[in-house]
Subunit: 418 residues, 2 copies
């Protein structure tokens, strides 16, 4: 049989990270590669009790088909929790639970957004580097990625402004044309996609000033902001500044997840969308999988009752902070004075290492694996023009003891290659 | 904010069935409208035990990220079960578990297939009438639907053959052109989508002869068959003939589900694909939601151990058979001699009623709801040229007592309109 594939299928690729994870799956390896939350943090006992309670109380409803929008109690929880966080961050955000769509992980939210907003060749603005999972979700809808120059605080506002519309060759040549106006409308970027808090892959966060400037620039230009916030709850010493969407709720879609605060294996995420946009996202959701498992939604709603996250999440923060500090200390101990640099995350799961410009981290991975330590080469995370002298380290999966051993092994590989 | 939507979003529509279900959600209504499995059949005690066992034994792994392909034990179960059923039906089918992809309900399988096989304006052959959920999943990829004439045994083979390639106006006009060959290749249908067993919405099944003929015609023409089989296990007196995919495994994708044999609220389905096609489906799956909830997969694998389905599914068959018989008896009692006709399903969840040609079931629905009974007007299920004098009745949700009351009420509405 000669199957004819859709053009978009040609653009799909195996996840580079998943391929790397396969290479690094050898016994005894210390992996800084995957973005796997520490399973020590999974509240297994709470889930066991919730399973028993939900099945005893509402078993038939929990196992039946359900509304595509999501379980009402969970949608209310999300709306209230975000409103509470936003108010605490100084930017009140009134969310109607009717704006909340429960998704099968926040990865699905990316898929739904791509379906309703991206046409073939639509321009989509992304960070440099960008979250690989988002690129994978958007790519089947065949966008043109436009990488926005970024520093330690996130995207550079002037670069955002200059790239909302395509560079017009005749303007570059100094020859403005009468058709500029309609061409600008056609080629206008559909949205900018950002992770403001403890970004994947870099671990960096947007400052308050940068958020304010991005929000204002986007609002003035009518550029939607797709704000992905899977890591925002994982702050070490202080919560991050208020979300971008809270600053202009009609101008963006917000995405969150229970994967990092409860457990990823339930595949529970959510989005908050302007009411005008919600029906199309809901229709895309119905077509994608009818609804997110009702059992999982009721389970989590049961676990979340009575302020569970307020007791549970601080334990995750403390664990990840201690592991991040151990990794930073080990890096400083092993690599000070080598010209290799890294950032100092204030939350999240990742940190980002820069090697001297001539080095290529892809070449170093096999050598690291030989020494029983793994990372993700940074080149995978660029929509274009990959910087090969970068790598991502996750500090959440390995213990402090493993971090000390693993960073020493990694440092030996890096120093040998200098 | 002025959001610019993708062209495909304009084609998406709210599910007509879900809109109807909202209308019919009034206390005390007897609904033959939804396709909701009887919650009496959900094995709640088995799930409760499996939850406790899985969390006690493998809690951390069950709550962690997992492989996009699915949980190995569940993929093996699917491969073995299908091989067993096919052998019993006389068509051996050797399935490698590596060909099985676990999906978030079989609805997701439809979404993944649409993404990798449908370009804008690709021709897609569907039954008359067709499963609405499939139309919803395919539509965002902007196919051209081609409805295949169908009788009580499914699609008519001559009509399939005549529609694999587009009708060429110059051929219709009797003027063959030199460009015929390349145009035929370009416009060739990407696949035919069928539900051979107890189809949704009609409840009809393909005979062995029809299956053999369709399989042969598709193989000869190089037309892929997308075979959806959510209801095949729900036979009343004898299992259905062997699957289409078993007859030519390289020429089709097979889809199945645990929604009807265990519970829909877990959202667990699967597909079996030729090895050449599997990687693209897997990439689409990764991009769509990373993986189907690992907890749900392990839960079901645990429940399925030790031949659970062999004990459980016969109880569902017996229940649905008794309810179907009650509905058929009630229809005969109330509507004999009126010119209204219906089919005699041999399994599944639905039956299909035809009214005299001048009647429109959409107009009758409000009158039925007034009398506390609901159905789905058949027009919703046609890709084009809806037949308004049809309606779908589900016999699985209501009890025998409710069926007797509900059909009497429905018959009064229909007879008043004759």
């Amino acid at each position: 049989m000669n199957w004819k594939l859709a053009a978009r299928a040609e653009r799909m690729n195996p996840s580079i990270i998943r391929e790397i994870l396969k290479v690094t799956e050898k016994p005894g390896i210390i992996s800084f590669a995957g973005g796997l939350p520490s399973p020590k943090t999974f509240p297994i006992a709470a889930f066991a009790k919730a399973c028993a309670d939900v099945l005893a109380k509402d078993g038939q409803a929990a196992l039946q088909y359900a509304a595509s929008e999501g379980f009402p109690a969970l949608r209310e929880f999300v709306a209230n929790e975000l409103a509470k966080q936003s108010a605490a961050a100084g930017v009140p955000w009134a969310i109607d639970p009717a704006q909340v769509l429960i998704t099968t992980g926040s990865q699905q939210a990316l898929d739904l957004i791509a379906k309703i907003l991206i046409d073939k060749d639509s321009r989509v603005l992304v960070e440099t580097p960008a979250y690989l999972g988002a690129l994978q979700a958007f790519t089947p809808m065949e966008p043109q990625y436009v990488s926005i120059a970024s520093d330690d605080e996130g995207v550079l506002i002037d670069d955002v402004k200059s790239k909302i519309y395509p560079v017009r060759p005749e303007l570059v040549e100094g020859q403005a044309s009468a058709s500029t106006s309609s061409a600008r409308t056609d080629g206008k970027a559909r949205f900018i996609y950002v992770i403001p808090n403890y970004q994947n892959p870099t671990g960096r966060s947007m400052s308050e000033a940068r958020r304010a400037a991005l929000s204002q620039a986007a609002r003035e230009a009518g550029l939607p902001i797709i704000e992905d916030n899977p890591y925002g709850d994982l702050w070490f010493d202080a919560p991050p500044p208020a979300s971008l969407t809270a600053r202009n709720p009609d101008g963006g879609i917000y995405m969150g997840s229970f994967s990092k605060t409860l457990a990823p294996g339930l595949r529970l995420g959510f989005l908050v969308a302007p009411k005008a946009l919600y029906p199309k996202l809901l229709q895309a959701k119905q077509a994608a999988d009818l609804h997110t498992p009702s059992f999982n939604q009721r389970l989590v709603a049961e676990v979340l009752k009575d302020g569970f996250l307020d007791r549970h999440v601080p334990t995750i923060r403390a664990l990840y902070k201690s592991q991040c500090e151990a990794m930073l200390a080990a890096l400083a101990r092993e690599l000070a004075g080598t010209g290799i640099t890294w950032n100092q995350p204030t939350g999240g799961m990742f940190l980002w290492v820069k090697l001297p410009a001539h080095m290529n981290s892809v070449d170093l991975l096999p050598k690291a694996v030989e020494r029983n330590v793994a990372f993700v080469p940074g080149a995978a995370f660029y929509a274009d023009h990959p910087q090969h002298n970068t790598l991502r380290l996750s500090f959440v999966t390995a213990s402090v003891e493993q971090i000390n051993i693993g960073i020493a092994a990694l440092a030996a590989v890096l120093k040998a290659a200098l």
